[in-house]
Symmetry: C2
């Protein structure tokens, strides 16, 4: 059984040979070999960092975590999100692998003290939802810090798991089970470091994929960032349009689960939505242009009463949707 999906661009340089998973838990081997008993470091214990801390500890690994505030550290200790939690960057000093589980803005403008505190031989990975700026920023920052040797050890990655929750209370066990974890290596990425992060992702039950950073960013613009604006615009339009007609109260009273679902991500965290748009602006603009054309086409069909064509368009939408739904975790390893 392999968990490597066939999405890796065949031309990508520095791509490791597909690891063999021949026995129980041997898919953890590259991680265990790298760690040699040393801890995994996690910077930030929000939804992703906290969940990762719980799952990695459940898999028998030692986890040390760096957080910003002492109150967060205290709560994280109560929740046992890591075996050691500290606001002092020195907590990372023995870590052989460090996961930067920071929000995108802090990832793209990290505290200089954090960079200094990262062990120079550690494999580094991040969990940001936009990959090209992260990869460019960190490769540049490591070079500028005189750590050119660590550039290849930085593996840009994106575990695609989430809930509406954020902060130190958000982390939950099993968050990554069966969910995609995408890495975006380039020609500079060390194959062994990539294998270590793959093993880490599989340790928490995720489904590993690799692709080019630009491809990741365009794909998530379509399926993750565009839906935020599509749903946000629906909320604003429904409110303004019904309100202007004196029907606001009626529209709100009649809105059902269909409206609730269509607007769930559009009515989500506004800072996060703005950050995605800022960090993935060009890809999002491409997606927005395509979307406006698509909604304009449907509008024309209604305007011109071309009902068979409208039915055909909606049939196509119905036919397309199943392939976009979360696949069963068929390639994922058993939960640790």
């Amino acid at each position: 059984m392999s968990t490597t999906a066939p999405l890796t661009p065949p031309s990508l340089p520095g791509e490791p040979a597909r690891p063999q998973h021949s026995g129980a838990r041997t898919w953890q081997a590259p991680l265990r070999e790298r760690l040699e008993g040393r801890p995994v470091g996690i910077v930030g214990l929000g939804l992703i960092g906290g969940s990762l801390g719980l799952d990695l500890q459940a898999a028998g690994l030692e986890v040390r975590a760096l957080v910003h505030r002492e109150a967060t550290a205290e709560r994280a200790r109560q929740r046992q999100l890591a075996s050691v939690v500290s606001t002092a960057a020195s907590v990372l000093e023995d870590c052989a692998v460090v996961v930067l589980a920071l929000p995108l803005d802090r990832l793209l403008d990290p505290d200089p003290a954090l960079l200094r505190a990262l062990p120079p031989a550690a494999v580094l990975t991040d969990v940001g939802s936009v990959k090209q700026p992260v990869l460019e920023h960190w490769q540049g920052a490591l070079r500028q810090a005189g750590r050119g040797g660590q550039v290849g050890l930085f593996v840009a990655s994106h575990p695609m798991a989430g809930t509406a929750q954020a902060g130190v209370e958000a982390g939950v066990a099993g968050l990554f089970q069966g969910r995609p974890w995408v890495a975006t290596p380039d020609g500079r990425t060390d194959p062994e470091a990539l294998a270590v992060v793959q093993a880490l992702s599989e340790t928490v039950g995720a489904h590993w994929l690799t692709c080019a950073a630009a491809d990741h960013d365009q794909a998530v613009a379509w399926i993750s960032h565009l839906p935020v604006l599509v749903g946000g615009a629906l909320l604003r339009a429904a409110d303004q349009g019904s309100g202007a007609a004196g029907l606001g109260e009626l529209a709100r009273a009649l809105a059902s689960s269909g409206f609730a679902d269509t607007t769930r991500v559009g009515g989500g965290n506004p800072e996060l939505g703005t950050l995605m748009a800022r960090c993935n602006r060009e890809a999002l603009l491409t997606a927005l242009a395509g979307y406006r054309e698509a909604i304009g086409t449907l509008q024309e069909l209604v305007q011109d009463e071309r009902w068979p064509e409208l039915a055909g368009a909606l049939e196509e939408a119905q036919r397309l949707r199943p392939a976009f739904l979360m696949a069963p975790a068929d390639g994922a390893p058993p939960a640790p």
Copy 2:
């Protein structure tokens, strides 16, 4: 406790006094008094008709149902959706109240035999999701059939409950519990007939509202019909755009619950979506125009990198959404 929401336009002629609900199950009184032990008829045993049959029987009422095909009748009998199920219109002859639980197209072009079979003194109601054309069609059809006296007994209504299911297997108990049931009386509507349908809706636990038919149709265009096109366009745009860039497989693999939710109704029944658009075209075009302006505004903010304004717009969306979510059934009577 009253289940009448304060949405009734105060100027609406023919509006009944708000019924008093002073004791257990007295909210069923207008229905019981009308029936005097006679059965409720249901025409069509799909999702709405079948669910209604189950709940009305559970409330101790006798239900007789007319369906189109003998195979449907057999299955409906096995599922006990009504006490008598027949393909012969004469099954309705003793019914004091008849619910026309037909799809919108059949409701707007009913079998002449059905009209003939409706008992002339029966209170009639429908369950169509667009109200103005239904009200106009049935008031006209009854007059043309020499049943001018029954025009006031036709109560156009819309129970707003649904699942993705359709057909004789779809009906489930408790479907209407806490959900809105909207009636759109006009000056011709008999107040007593309206009270009977209200009592019927409350017998199955629905939350009764009344408004003008045109207002209903514009409100559902915003919150029910527009989301179908919004989500359908997203599916088509994401497929075409990612496919054109060679990223179709990647986009499908990375699509998560956010994409699934945003496109749920957009990837739903295409015949139903087309029927809504046909029967509610003008209101839908108004909503589409407002929506295209709203998505265009967000596109401009991204294009012009006006991030604080984008954050403000998404904050507004987040703030607006809770009022559109399904309210707890606070005004609904206890389940029968």
